[in-house]
C-alpha cells in the first residue's frame, strides 16, 4: 500500500469534519502513515472463503414491542443544548452554504 500523503490527510479531515491546522496535518500524516503501514498486514491474509464478522454475537433483527413509553420531556432533551430557541435546538445556518 502506498504511503499516505498530507493531501490525503487533509481530505480525511474534511470528511471527518475536523478543522485541522497545517502543523496538525503534517504531524498526523507522519503518524497515520506508520499506523496504516502496520495494520495493512490484514490485507495479506488469504481469506477469500472466510465470511466477515461484524459482531461477536449471532444476533439479527432485534425488535421490541411497539408500545408507547415514557420518554424525555422537551426540557430534559434540550438540557445540554449549546443554544435553544422556542423549545427547539437553535443551530447555525444550514442553507445557502454553497453561495
Amino acid at each position: 500500500m502506498s504511503a499516505i500523503t498530507r493531501d490525503e490527510v487533509a481530505h480525511l479531515a474534511k470528511l471527518s469534519r475536523l478543522a485541522l491546522t497545517d502543523d496538525e496535518l503534517g504531524h498526523f500524516a507522519t503518524q497515520l502513515d506508520v499506523i496504516i503501514g502496520s495494520v495493512a498486514k490484514v490485507a495479506e491474509i488469504a481469506a477469500e472463503d472466510v465470511p466477515p464478522s461484524s459482531h461477536a454475537l449471532p444476533l439479527t433483527n432485534v425488535f421490541r414491542a411497539d408500545e408507547v413509553r415514557q420518554s424525555l420531556t422537551p426540557q430534559q432533551a434540550l438540557s445540554g443544548a449549546p443554544a435553544v430557541e422556542d423549545d427547539r435546538f437553535r443551530v447555525p445556518r444550514i442553507l445557502g452554504e454553497e453561495a
Binding site: 478543522a19 461477536a56 445540554g80
Partner: protein, 496 residues
C-alpha cells in the same frame, strides 16, 4: 482495620448488620480521596454532598427493611463514560465538558438499585481510546505503585482508585483491554464479561461491537459480587444477551480446579515481552499445575493479526459513533458567531473539542471505510475477526480456559509512549483477541516483576458465557498466591 482497607464483601456485611452506616463508610472513603487525590488524580468529579445523600438514602432503605443485595452501602468509583443524572459525564473530553445527562446508564441504575454509593466519576483516556489515561483532556492519573508511571488505560482512574484504597470497587469498560490492562499494571482484579453480558445503554459509545462494561476490585470474590450486581439482560441494549448471568459469585467460592484443562497460547510470546512478566507467568503455570490443573499448549495462529484487525475495526466504528458530536444538540459549540455555516461550526468544534488520539482514530476509521480501501482494510479485518473466533473455538474444544500475560510489560513511565501511537497500541496485544471474539476474560495479580518491582497480571480467558470459569480459576490461584506472599499483593505497594 480501617474501613478503607476492608473488602467490599466485608463492608456490605458491616452495613447490613447495622454495625456501620453507609454514611460512615462513604465518609471514610471521601476523606481518603481528599487526602490522596493531589497525588493520584484518579477522579474527574467528586461531590461530597451528592455522595452522602446517596448514602443516607441507602441507610434509610435498609432501616425500612428493604432487602438490598450484598453490596448495599458499599462505595464505588464510576468510570466517567457511564451516564449519571446527578454528576457530570464527560468521557474525559473537552467536547462534553460539564455535560449532565438527562438519564442514567443501565449500569448506573443497577448500581443504585443494589444500594452501591457512587463516590465520583473516574478519569480515562478520552472516549476510552488509549492504554495509559494520558489521553484524558483533564490531566494524567498516576499509578499508586509508582507515581511517575501510568495506571493503565483506558480505565486508569478506576484502577488507580481501587489500588490506591480510594474505593473498594470501581467500574470500567473494555473495548481492547481497557479493564484488564489497567488492573494488571496496578495489581488488582479486572474482568471483561462476555460481550452482551453487561449493558451498553448509557455508555458513551467508542466501538459498539466491542465495548463491554465490567468490574474492578481488590480480590476475585468482590469482582464477582459487582459483576452480578450490574450484569444481565437489558432490553434497552439491542446486543444484550437474553440469558441468565453465569453464577460468578458461586464460581469464586468453588475452591477447586483439579482436573481442569488450562491452555497456553503459543503465539503470546516472543519479542516485546518483558522478562519479569514472562517469569511471573511461568510461576503461575507451575502454580496451576500444583493445584491439579492440566497444562496444554495450544496454537491460535490468527492471533498474530488481531492487533492490526482491531486497529481497523475499532477506529472504523469510532469514526461513525463520534459523528454524533456535531455541536448541535449537546456539548461544546465553537464559532457560532453568525459568520460560520453549520458545517464550519461542526469542523471548528470537533477540532477544538477532540484530542489528538481521538482525531487520529476518527481519520484512520474514515480512511479504512472509504471507497477503494474498504475491502482491503475493513472487509479484511472482519474476516480476521472470524478467524480469531474460530481459533478460540478450536482451543476451547481442547481446554477449559486459556491463560497468558495480561499485557507484555509492567506500567511504563508517563510520557514514554505518549506520542508514539504504535508503541502504545502494543499494550493491548494479549487482550484484543477476546474483544474481537466477545469471550470472557479476567486479569488477576500474579506477582511483581524482578526488574522493577511492579505488578504483573495473569489473563484467564473463557468461552462466551463461560465467565464463571474466569472467576473459578482466578479465585483458586489468588488464594494460592496469597498464601505464598503472606497476604494480598497490594500490601507491597508504597503508602500514599
Amino acid at each position: 482495620m480501617s474501613l478503607i482497607h476492608k473488602t467490599a464483601a466485608e463492608l456490605g456485611a458491616l452495613v447490613a448488620s447495622g454495625e456501620v452506616s453507609a454514611v460512615e463508610v462513604a465518609t471514610a472513603h471521601l476523606d481518603r480521596i481528599e487526602a490522596t487525590e493531589p497525588k493520584l488524580h484518579a477522579f474527574l468529579h467528586v461531590d461530597r454532598e451528592v455522595t452522602l445523600s446517596q448514602a443516607r438514602e441507602v441507610d434509610s432503605r435498609i432501616a425500612s427493611g428493604e432487602q438490598l443485595g450484598p453490596l448495599a452501602g458499599v462505595p464505588i468509583a464510576h468510570k466517567d463514560i457511564f451516564a449519571t443524572r446527578d454528576m457530570p459525564t464527560t468521557a474525559a473530553s473537552k467536547i462534553l465538558e460539564g455535560w449532565r445527562p438527562p438519564y442514567d446508564a443501565t449500569v448506573t441504575a443497577r448500581l443504585r438499585a443494589a444500594g452501591l454509593v457512587i463516590l465520583g466519576k473516574t478519569n480515562l483516556d478520552e472516549f476510552a481510546m488509549g492504554s495509559s489515561t494520558e489521553n484524558s483532556a483533564y490531566g494524567v492519573t498516576r499509578n499508586p505503585w509508582d507515581l511517575s508511571r501510568i495506571p493503565g488505560g483506558s480505565s486508569g482512574g478506576s484502577s488507580a482508585a481501587v489500588s490506591g484504597y480510594q474505593a473498594p470497587l470501581s467500574t470500567g469498560t473494555d473495548t481492547g483491554g481497557s479493564i484488564r490492562q489497567p488492573a494488571a499494571v496496578t495489581g488488582i482484579v479486572g474482568m471483561k464479561p462476555t460481550y452482551g453480558g453487561s449493558s451498553r445503554y448509557g455508555l458513551i459509545a467508542f466501538a459498539s461491537s466491542l465495548d463491554t462494561p465490567g468490574p474492578f476490585a481488590r480480590n476475585v470474590h468482590d469482582a464477582a459480587l459487582l459483576h452480578e450486581a450490574f450484569s444481565g439482560y437489558d432490553p434497552m441494549d439491542s446486543t444484550s444477551i437474553d440469558a441468565p448471568v453465569p453464577s460468578v459469585v458461586a464460581a469464586a467460592q468453588a475452591g477447586d480446579i483439579s482436573g481442569m484443562r488450562v491452555g497456553i497460547v503459543r503465539e503470546f510470546a516472543g519479542d516485546g515481552y518483558q522478562p519479569g512478566v514472562i517469569a511471573r507467568f511461568n510461576d503461575a503455570v507451575k502454580m496451576l499445575e500444583s493445584l491439579g490443573a492440566e497444562i496444554v499448549e495450544v496454537s491460535c495462529p490468527s492471533f498474530d493479526t488481531a492487533l492490526p484487525a482491531y486497529y481497523l475495526i475499532a477506529p472504523s466504528e469510532c469514526s461513525s459513533n463520534l459523528a454524533r458530536f456535531d455541536a448541535m444538540r449537546y456539548g461544546l459549540r465553537v464559532g457560532d458567531d453568525g459568520t460560520h455555516s453549520a458545517e464550519e461550526v461542526m469542523a471548528l468544534t470537533r477540532a477544538a473539542g477532540f484530542g489528538p488520539e481521538v482525531k487520529r482514530r476518527i481519520m484512520l476509521g474514515t480512511y479504512a471505510l472509504s471507497s477503494g480501501y474498504y475491502d482491503a482494510y475493513y472487509g479484511q479485518a472482519q474476516k480476521v475477526r472470524t478467524l480469531i473466533a474460530r481459533d478460540f473455538e478450536a482451543a476451547f474444544g481442547q481446554v477449559d480456559v486459556l491463560i497468558s500475560p495480561t499485557t507484555p510489560t509492567t506500567a511504563f513511565p508517563i510520557g514514554e509512549r505518549a506520542d508514539d501511537p504504535m508503541a502504545m497500541y502494543l499494550a493491548d496485544l494479549c487482550t484484543i483477541p477476546s474483544n474481537l471474539a466477545g469471550n470472557a476474560a479476567i486479569s488477576i495479580p500474579c506477582g511483581l516483576a524482578d526488574e522493577d518491582n511492579l505488578p504483573v497480571g495473569l489473563q484467564i480467558m473463557a468461552p462466551v458465557l463461560g465467565d464463571d470459569r474466569c472467576y473459578r480459576v482466578g479465585a483458586v490461584l489468588e488464594k494460592a498466591f496469597e498464601a505464598r506472599w503472606g497476604g494480598p499483593l497490594l500490601k507491597e505497594a508504597p503508602a500514599l
